[in-house]
């Protein structure tokens, strides 16, 4: 079953690099099967920057882990298709999948400090994948590590290649992780909350660096974040996730100009503004549903101010509401321009 037709028409123009079709992820738990991602479809073109917005538990990270083949089964169950250059990542042999990771798709995480091995030098870690895959000498690997450290602008790379992660600040550790990810020139970089643990000026340095690297290499970037400011400034297109599904997607200008799903609108209105024009914050009442306790109908209906009877029983599908913009709300058309 293809639940989300609009997406395929939307992305038909350039052949997508990554094409996700009806991806579902669930987990066996002592309380029964719990759905984490409930049928999402999206695609990524070469060189594109895509944002995935969502709060804790929205399924934004789990979905990406599934794409990378990082979900253990059991207890995890993954279904759907993840096509990279036309080949399905989910059904390929683990060997091929490993080849794909690092070589074609690389990932960086929020907490660089703990993602790095404290007992290995940063140089060793940066070049490890390169050394194993390209079967090069230690000396060659070190040259590569220094080159990568230069690329991510770690000052005096030559002398610091032998440092350990604890000798680096949080921002520098994130640069080390980016260097590690870049070692094999991936076509896609997935960044899961890459700057959430960093200070605002360091965040700015890292985002500027990512944008530069992307310009130089033409690499596609998937930015997973809860920060609407980062999304607005960084990406071309974004998807908003809620309770394991995409509730809205579209070009970033349209999302902020005419947010269509009430959850997207709520998120934008609940952010305090730096220009002081906020007044009382328009908080969204209630809390996101716990996994395993999904409401019937639209998952957002218990928190929605505009719900009608239909929302309680019938789940809205994601559908096009404007050029390139799709929303999963029964009332999308009526409430769009208020």
């Amino acid at each position: 079953m293809r639940a989300m037709q609009p997406y395929e028409t939307l992305d038909a123009v350039p052949a997508p690099l990554l094409d996700i079709r009806d991806l579902r992820v669930s987990f066996d738990t002592p309380h029964g099967l719990v759905k984490a991602v409930g049928g999402v479809s999206w695609s990524l073109s070469p060189g594109e920057t895509l944002g995935i917005i969502g709060e804790s538990g929205s399924g934004k990270s789990v979905g990406l882990e599934a794409i990378m083949g990082l979900i253990k089964s059991p207890p995890g169950h993954v279904s759907g298709q993840v096509l990279f250059d036309g080949r399905d990542v989910l059904t390929m042999a683990e060997r091929d999948r490993r080849q794909l990771r690092g070589e074609k798709i690389a990932m960086i995480f929020q907490d660089a400090m703990s993602a790095l091995n404290p007992s290995l030098t940063v140089g060793t870690q940066i070049a490890e994948v390169y050394r194993l895959r390209r079967k090069c000498s230690q000396a060659e690997a070190e040259r590569k590590a220094i080159e990568l450290m230069d690329r991510v602008k770690i000052p005096s790379a030559k002398t610091r290649v032998g440092c350990y992660p604890h000798e680096f600040s949080g921002g520098m550790c994130q640069r080390v992780m980016i260097a590690t990810a870049l070692a094999l020139n991936p076509q896609i970089l997935i960044a899961d909350e890459p700057t959430t643990a960093l200070d605002v000026t360091v965040q700015r340095q890292i985002m500027t660096l990512l944008a530069e690297l992307q310009r130089e290499d033409g690499m596609a970037l998937v930015l997973i974040t809860h920060d609407l400011g980062l999304v607005a400034e960084t990406v071309d297109r974004a998807m908003v996730m809620y309770a394991g599904r995409i509730v809205e997607s579209g070009p970033v200008d349209a999302l902020f100009e005419t947010p269509t799903h009430p959850y997207t609108r709520g998120l934008i209105r609940s952010m305090p503004r730096l220009d002081g024009a906020s007044g009382a914050l328009h908080a969204i009442g209630g809390t996101p549903p716990a996994a395993g306790r999904m409401p019937r109908g639209c998952a957002f209906h218990p928190r929605c101010e505009q719900r009608v009877d239909r929302c309680l029983t019938e789940r809205p599908n994601l559908r096009m509401v404007a050029k390139g913009q799709a929303a999963a709300c029964h009332l999308a058309e009526e409430t769009r321009h208020d």
């Binding site: 607005a232 934008i268 996101p288």
Partner: protein, 346 residues
């Protein structure tokens, strides 16, 4: 009441001594985590404290609460210096100055029911609520923070992050304090829930006349909740003033850089010129000569490298910069000025 400050901090200083003296003495190295910080909190007022990791904001919070003993300065509660108080008296005074921490997951004891968490402070301060009234008071507190009285029998793990933070706030309120130090109190919460807790803090302030010292790294939240704001860098206050003044026309080059770096949730502004600060915050053990910000400052001149800047009054703000008020900001700051056009927000 409104004119006498509830809480007053004067030239507070906290040095940490590093290591032990060697056999032959030798010079002790020390780290000045907080250097001569002063501020005043009045009833119903919020002072925001911003700065990046290592700027001393958490040290300052711990020091004014006397969780760490300051090296110098004064902390006055209703005019009385609490740093001179003997331990027993300090303990009594603690009920008036409470704290809400960042992590609602680790600051509540998982083995206790919410009722026990909220009534525990009354074991130490039995006079606040007589035993016969406690059951009812727990229900009142829960209602006050937007929870249900029936939640009293549940355990922390049965609540979401935002609800747990409400419990943390209720626990702080159990002792009927006048001052609450909010140390990154909303930083761990999701945006939609964060807004609820920020609104709750504001409501409680209106109802109870609480004074907040609000420490956060999120500048937009600080902008929203604070009456006055303090910007710290390397243990020092670099800029201080009414929130509107500091956020609309920041004068210290560090404040300008900080505000310029905040990502703005408006794609129309993404092409604005942003200051990307070079390098990192210097090692506080060996702070730079002169102005501690000079190695990263675009405006630095010889004077800045040699002489620590005095505090200068510019408009309503106090700025620690030799050239405060004379510099043109090196960034495009239109995102601070107000909505870029009417009807901008849905």
């Amino acid at each position: 009441m409104t004119d006498t400050p509830v809480f007053e901090v004067r030239d507070i200083r906290k040095d940490y001594v590093l290591g032990k003296p060697g056999l032959f003495g030798g010079k002790l190295r020390s780290l000045a985590a907080v250097r001569d910080v002063s501020f005043t909190l009045r009833r119903g007022e919020t002072v925001g404290l911003v700065g990046e990791s290592g700027c001393g904001k958490s040290s300052l919070a711990r020091t004014v609460l006397r969780l760490n003993e300051p090296t110098g300065g004064e902390v006055r509660y209703h005019g009385r210096n609490i740093l001179d108080l003997p331990k027993a008296e300090m303990q009594k005074l603690r009920r008036h100055i409470q704290v809400v921490f960042q992590d609602p997951y680790s600051s509540l004891d998982p083995r206790f029911t919410v009722r026990r968490i909220l009534s525990e402070p009354w074991q130490v301060f039995p006079d606040i609520v007589p035993p016969a009234r406690r059951e009812a008071r727990v229900a009142e507190l829960l209602t006050l923070v937007g929870l249900n009285p029936s939640d009293a029998d549940r355990y922390p793990h049965q609540f979401s992050g935002g609800q747990r933070q409400r419990i943390g706030i209720a626990r702080a309120l159990a002792l009927e304090p006048e001052v609450i130090v909010c140390d990154e109190a909303v930083s761990a919460l999701d945006v939609s829930v964060q807004a609820q807790v920020v609104n709750l803090l504001k409501d409680l302030q209106d109802k109870l006349g609480l004074a907040y010292l609000f420490i956060a790294h999120d500048l937009s939240v600080v902008r929203h909740i604070s009456d006055r704001v303090i910007v710290m860098y390397l243990g020092q206050v670099v800029e201080e003033g009414p929130t509107d003044a500091v956020f609309r026309t920041p004068r210290h080059p560090y404040t300008v850089a900080l505000l310029s770096a905040v990502p703005v949730p408006d794609p129309k502004q993404k092409d604005r010129d942003v200051i990307v600060l070079e390098g990192e915050v210097p090692n506080p053990i060996m702070p730079p000569s002169g102005c501690p910000f000079h190695p990263r400052c675009a405006h630095a001149r010889d004077l800045c490298r040699q002489t620590p800047p005095p505090v200068r009054e510019v408009g309503d703000a106090r700025v620690r910069c030799h050239f405060a008020g004379e510099l043109e900001p090196a960034a495009d700051l239109r995102h601070l000025a107000g909505p870029s056009e009417p009807g901008d927000r849905a």
